[in-house]
Amino acid sequence: MLAQLILNGFVTGLLLALPALALTLTFGILKFPNFAIGSMLTLGSYAAWIGNSLLGMPLAVAAIFAALAMAAVAMLSDVLVFSRLRDRGSITLLVASMGISLILENICRFGFGNSTRNFVFDVARPTRWHGLRINQEQLITAVVVIVCVILIQLLLYASPLGRAMRAVADNPSLAAVRGVERQTIARITWCLAGCLTALSGVLAGLDRAVDPLLGWNYQIPIFAAAILGGLGSPTGAIVGAIVIGLAEELSSLILPTNYRQVVSFAVILGLLLVRTQGLFGGKAVRK
């Protein structure tokens, strides 16, 4: 039924919003597309699984544990890799992030194999509301994501740190001569990206299951969402994610569900033809 699809699509979109935000923030502030976004999601969900299933934490606590762990991993990757390549151009950084992606994904595969895992979590029965079925996972996703989005928007637009981040995104050398250390902002951005992707990993793991390809399956929709919103625009990432979620879900009316990623890819191609800067972004023309 159409309304159910719209609801499902909206929630799927919300789930995409967090990694899309992370991707767009790293693109805006660190100036390159982070290929490792999917693998960060995967590692985040495994970190939560370790906390939840192996160490016996309640899922909420495990999620926080995973967010902190991923923030540390992201920061470490900046210290060891990205900071050494900072001025080498976005393609070098992109290729390096592909290397990081291979490392992160295969740490998961090496440690836990290819089989799927599940969180220890008592799922309540779905709620019924005006004929629509709403899972508990969907409610959790919606609440968590909306809270995160509000916090991020407050951070970016109502705090000194957010101003500093937007200043570095706008003009790094000018930010430096106004007292903002670029290195510090870069590290904070990575920590934030790590937290956001880890949380989305927990939500995705709840929705599907935890396996090494969990994040990879979201890679194209995440990129599509960020590009649709305009790379570098946080508001755009959120709006783009919801649109992509809706598009993928509604496409099941005419396409088999296996083709969802093809839908996102088609959106990317379409945007390139029509409006490369997305809904909220700036110019994208090659110099």
């Binding site: 592909m98 595969r109 090496f110 296996n258 990623q261 191609l269 994208a284």
Partner: protein, 306 residues
Amino acid sequence: MTAYLTTLVVLVAVSALVGLALNLQWGVAGLVNFGVVGFVALGAYATALLAPALGWCGAMIVAAVLCAIVSTVLAFLSIRLEENYLAIVTIGFGEVVRILLLNETWLTGGAVGIADIPRPFVSLVSPARYDVVLLCFSLALVAIVFALLEILVRSPFGRALRAVRDDATVAAALGKPVLLLRIKAFAIGGAVMGVAGALHAFYLTYIDPSQFTSIITAYAFMAVIAGGRGSNIGLLFGAGSIMALLEATRFLKDAVEMTDGTQLAALRLGLIGVGIVLLLILRPQGLLPEPQRRVRDFFPDDGGSA
């Protein structure tokens, strides 16, 4: 023994071809392509589907042309844009090809794949001796492609490409048709990837989507980075070093108690990731750098006077 050697040589040959193609696209023309595996798969499937009708040679040629056409389309869509966009499009492309191959069962056989692929020169010798033929075929293919690409790179076309890669604005000001050059380079690279896919199909005689995973893209990048972007000889060296890595991990499996193939595969992929990162940080110019052109290369008669 011959069978093992053939396996090794064919694997190196496929990697070398893919690496040479990426080297042209990225190393020489400055266009990064993360959808490598998609083009290889396209080449393999086109070959497999057309070989019964056109024979192995015709099928391989058509596969190359098909890949060139698809490359042109992708490049045309994104080449005017910032380099990040072509990269992002190609990230999606590889995955989308895999999904299409898996699901369009009427054409590709889905997860089951296509079997009984005809092989080159199979009627020449007895089945027992065929390995040698395939080995020689692979080497010859790599040699021919290498030679052709080297000629291309040293030609005015190649020089123009490198000028565009280093500074597109200046190149355009000098009258070089920047867009056309880039698209041509991308298409030629795509065609070579198609040939690599054909070789893959000939060797295995049976293909299915599970053979085309992102490890192929990862190998290609490692080869290009290790070899030094732009240098084809360096690239062969790079492809060789990857194979050495592969073989080393095989011995690791015997030395260290590893329970299953998944862990070995994960270790291999992880090491490639580490290798890519280390090379980018420590030796961005590759293990053998692109030879610096000297004034003498352009003015051979000039004795070096200012």
